[in-house]
Amino acid sequence: MIRGSCLCGAVKFVIRGTLSAASHCHCSMCRKAHGTAFGTYAAARADDFRVLEGADRITRYRSSPGIVRTFCARCGSNLQWLREAKPAVVDVALGVLDDDPVVRPACHIYAGSKAPWYEITDSLPRYAAGVETGQ
């Protein structure tokens, strides 16, 4: 069981089971949405993802066709990245987890779009664009 919550605590969720396919995403949309150097997401089965509190606070924004990003309406914490064509999977923003997700980011995606002020200094594989995770 992995717990997560937003900054203000209005939204609380749990993930039963394990997370997989974690990666750092440097695309311009992740950088804008988070206001950071990159977003980091891992995949959960939608059946394993349960909102305990604050479902009415979760705001959805369609950032590109078929892609929805969610955040808390009160404090703005980024929560999920969802593909409308793959409703069985929920990509969770690791920054709002309260527990260790166990999984570790395996690569950098959209490294070709990274911020000019951020240098990638680890040894993980870097992909100029996305990779198909099979999720």
Binding site: S5, C6, L7, C8, A22, H24, M29, R31, K32, A33, H34, G35, T36, A37, F38, G39, T40, T59, Y61, S63, R69, T70, F71, A73, R74, C75, G76, S77, N78, L79, A93, L94, G95, V96, D100, P101, V103, R104, P105, A115, P116, W117, Y118, E119, T121, D122, S123
Partner: protein, 132 residues
């Protein structure tokens, strides 16, 4: 002149002066607020910062007494922090800049609170909390 904007484009801002003190913050509030491994922010003088469009879309949330973080209520992009005790400066998360700010982060703060799933692999100074 630096320009910035949120993800949906509803909010736009401009900065006429220089950014100062860019750094990485790994505190739990920054990680939660941004839903990310860490926050990267710089200071900007309030007189140098101007909302160009969509200021009414910015929702402010008081994360600790006297400190508010602003984000776009349409797309959730994190835009700016303001401080009751120091109104002459704002905290700017670098992620929404459209231009290269010409500065790079100089240190890591609150490393004692960093995410267990992120390793710091650069050579910058690391401070467990605030630098003494």
């Amino acid at each position: 002149m630096l320009s910035g904007s949120c993800l949906c484009g509803g909010v736009r801002y401009e900065i006429s002066g220089r950014l100062s003190g860019p750094l990485y913050c790994h505190c739990s509030m920054c990680r939660k607020a941004h839903g990310a491994a860490f926050r990267t922010r710089a200071s900007v003088r309030a007189q140098d910062f101007r909302w160009v469009q969509g200021e009414a879309l910015v929702t402010w949330y008081e994360t600790s007494p006297g400190t508010e973080r602003g984000f776009c209520r349409v797309c959730g992009a994190k835009l700016l922090s303001r401080f009751e005790r120091n109104p002459r400066f704002y905290g700017l998360p670098l992620g929404t800049l459209d231009d290269d700010p010409g500065v790079k982060p100089g240190m890591h703060l609150y490393v004692a609170h960093k995410a267990p799933w992120f390793e710091i692999t650069d050579a910058l100074a690391q401070h467990a909390e605030e630098p003494g």
